[in-house]
Symmetry: C2
Subunit: 267 residues, 2 copies
């Protein structure tokens, strides 16, 4: 990939993925395609960002379908490294981003963002993008990678694309494939709850606790949901707010049976 990179026409747009692509990923490829002569995509289910009890082994994979989708979308280069090549025996080099990684997903998934930052640093060094494309769906990941790029002086920009949703509002995610039919019917409650909070805020409610309660109550009305967290936080520092001040990130993680989904909106 490093050798191939030398021959590519700049600027190069990078779309890093864990595969099992959906319209969210393809919207990143579309944006990269519009803005760069060369689009590089990576497919790598990164073991170091999964906890020991998490879904690394059963994370959905379909390389044949992914390759077709990426080719149709106009990807020039697809990089699919082998885990043993990315993490050879004795591997022990890590990028740790402090502060914002301790909250929300970082609190629920210890070590997750160390894995994310490390694999992104590696993929950035290998593909040397001019612009890297990420989805707003993973809002905290976006904040962590922005901080890493700025603080480690990586010399390229990041472009954040809006969350792509199903017609009923459910954010597209590879993990939606885990949902049973009943869970799938229940899952749109996440975006319904976020949208209710946005409406309430737009009509004057700035008490963050009242908005958190509204979201909690709305999600609780669906049977079989289990809330991991409901957060209303500063969009850059991810510190929880008492009074909503724009831009605020409203984010949540909720379990439907064994499946954990996340979603967010920015007020």
């Amino acid at each position: 990939m490093q050798a191939e990179r030398c021959g590519l026409t700049a600027p190069v747009g990078l779309v890093p993925t864990m595969g099992y692509l959906h319209e969210g990923h393809l919207s990143l490829v579309d944006a990269a395609r519009r803005e760069n002569p060369t689009v590089v995509a990576t497919i790598f289910v990164n073991p170091t960002q999964f906890g020991p009890q998490e879904d690394f082994k059963r994370y959905p994979r379909d390389e044949t379908r992914d390759l077709k989708l990426l080719e149709t979308a106009g990807t020039d280069v697809i990089f699919i490294p082998d885990p043993a090549e990315m993490y050879p025996p004795g591997y022990d080099s890590w990028v740790d981003i402090g502060g914002i990684t301790a909250r929300l997903e970082g609190a629920a998934r210890p070590g997750h963002f160390r894995g994310v930052a490390t694999v992104c640093a590696k993929l950035f060094n290998i593909t040397r993008p001019d612009v890297a494309y990420f989805g707003q769906k993973d809002a905290q990941q976006v904040a962590v990678i922005k901080k890493m790029i700025a603080e480690l002086n990586m010399n390229f920009s990041i472009s954040i694309q809006p969350t792509v949703r199903e017609t009923d509002g459910l954010a597209q995610s590879s993990r939606n494939s885990y949902l049973s039919a009943a869970e799938r019917r229940a899952a749109p409650v996440l975006y319904r709850a976020l949208s209710l909070a946005r409406e309430r805020w737009q009509t004057g409610e700035t008490d963050a606790n009242k908005l958190r309660q509204l979201i909690t109550k709305t999600i609780g009305e669906e049977a079989g949901t289990k809330i991991d967290y409901i957060s209303i936080a500063d969009n850059a520092t991810l510190e929880e707010l008492t009074t909503v001040k724009s831009p605020a990130l409203v984010s949540l993680a909720v379990r439907f049976g064994g499946t954990r989904l996340i979603d967010n909106i920015v007020l």
Copy 2:
């Protein structure tokens, strides 16, 4: 620096320093000069690689003299960042290299190599070298940076230059300026002890403990010395050896009054 970098003729040779230059640094510039059309040097006394009880504040500085020496040696670009620019308020991004950093200097100076790896990653991202030049004098630093470059897939090479010594054998170091006249007279014992161990090994001694004892005894014969460590280790993993097997790194850290000096040879 990042903007300046775009106009430079490749390959670019990088010489990262903490300033207060001596012939060791200048030998790195010479090597970079011979092998690259462009030579970039950096001067930055990196606060994050000093412990709270260490000599960050009193570390010797002489920018005027450094600039003259670098210019005479044929440096094209000299980058002298401000600490507040390298580590702005809220800074919290770190590169941690595990394993080999726990031993020797890492054991004696907790956090030291996290600071070294982080500042090097930043300087590498800012200056984007084709070859980076380091001195064998800081052998463990060399091992850490080699591991970081390989494992984080940084796309350039590293060139290690031999330790430059005074005529009496003392390894050149900015910290030699701390030595009193008496300490300066005693300090060549380090290289004398290392050389004795090498002779003994060359004439057939492979028992690492016997060589460690020889070094310890030789240094102990100088008054006012205090040994931090004497190590005979695998040159790549830095694991201590029972039987010397080439290439082995023989390294030591010894205090002369308040001044801590390091030196090493490879068998």
